[in-house]
């Protein structure tokens, strides 16, 4: 087994444990979305996706 893979796996598990308390808090206490909230969030994220596609086309 490759040592780099093993250490990388340990690192990822470390990040998961590090993030877990905050993740648990938000999974339990996230407020519900109001009308129009998802639209307002998906609009810029969609723009990011389109922008990344443009970047990919630029380097091809």
């Amino acid at each position: 087994m490759d040592w780099v893979k093993i250490l990388s796996a340990v690192l990822i598990i470390g990040w998961i444990i590090f993030m877990w308390p905050r993740a648990k808090h938000w999974l339990q206490n996230s407020p519900k979305a109001q009308a129009g909230d998802w639209q307002a969030a998906l609009l810029p994220i969609g723009a990011v996706i389109l922008f990344v596609i443009v970047l990919i086309m630029l380097v091809r």
Binding site: L11, G14, I16, F18, R22, S30, P31, V48, L55, V59
Partner: protein, 224 residues
């Protein structure tokens, strides 16, 4: 938690403290990004073995986990933030050297760098100007991050290039959501009020977008 509990009218004192928090966060973020970029350039010049990226990441994780929570409310915390971002920047060196060795490596690195900057500025500008509350994204983003990390763990042992690309794409979307979430928390005076911790969160989001973009652009550039 009910978002209707947030007072509609905020006191002048509260607005001033929010503005101070935003100013401190973006000033420190700029400083850490410049410092991190400098360390990445030094690392590219020294060309340490790829294993060094892992060692640097372990060091940064250790500081974030054990040292920063104890020093975040003191001046020492600032040094810890620079140590974390410096280590992560230095750890980028071997990755950047790998892409720089490709025939269009310079273009890939520059595009990923510029693209990351535009994505961050665009999302921050959107969250700052609309002042919309994106705290509802919290559960979705953190659940997504856990799934992505578990997928990355599986990806280490499965030879599936498509999985790595899917993870990179997911990381960009999740980090975009995280920037909206964290910035809206900052603007709406919710959640974290320590600018060192907010800065580290935004820095990690930017770093993740940059490395994911590098991976996507490198794989899609058609350079074998």
């Amino acid at each position: 938690m009910n978002r209707l509990d947030i007072p509609a009218v905020r006191s002048t004192e509260s607005v001033l403290s929010t503005n101070k928090l935003i100013k401190n966060t973006y000033t420190l973020l700029s400083g850490t990004l410049i410092w991190s970029a400098l360390m990445a350039v030094v690392s590219m010049a020294i060309a340490p073995p790829p294993m060094f990226s892992l060692i640097a990441s372990f060091g940064a994780l250790g500081l974030l986990w054990f040292v920063l929570p104890r020093t975040a409310n003191s001046a020492k915390g600032l040094w810890v933030v620079f140590a974390v971002t410096g280590l992560l920047g230095f750890g980028l060196g071997p990755t950047l050297n790998f892409y720089a060795a490709m025939s269009n490596g310079g273009q890939i690195i520059a595009t990923a760098f510029g693209g990351t900057g535009i994505i961050f500025l665009g999302l921050s500008g959107y969250a700052l100007t609309t002042k919309r509350d994106f705290s509802f994204l919290g559960g979705f983003i953190f659940a997504g991050m856990l799934v992505v990390m578990l997928a990355s763990l599986a990806g280490l042992f499965l030879n599936m290039p498509a999985l790595h690309l899917a993870i990179s794409a997911a990381v960009i979307m999740l980090m975009a959501g995280y920037i909206l979430f964290e910035t809206s928390q900052l603007v709406n005076d919710q959640g974290q009020t320590n600018y060192l911790l907010v800065t580290v969160g935004l820095y990690l989001a930017i770093l993740n977008i940059f490395t994911a973009l590098l991976q996507l652009l490198g794989a899609m550039s058609g350079d074998d």
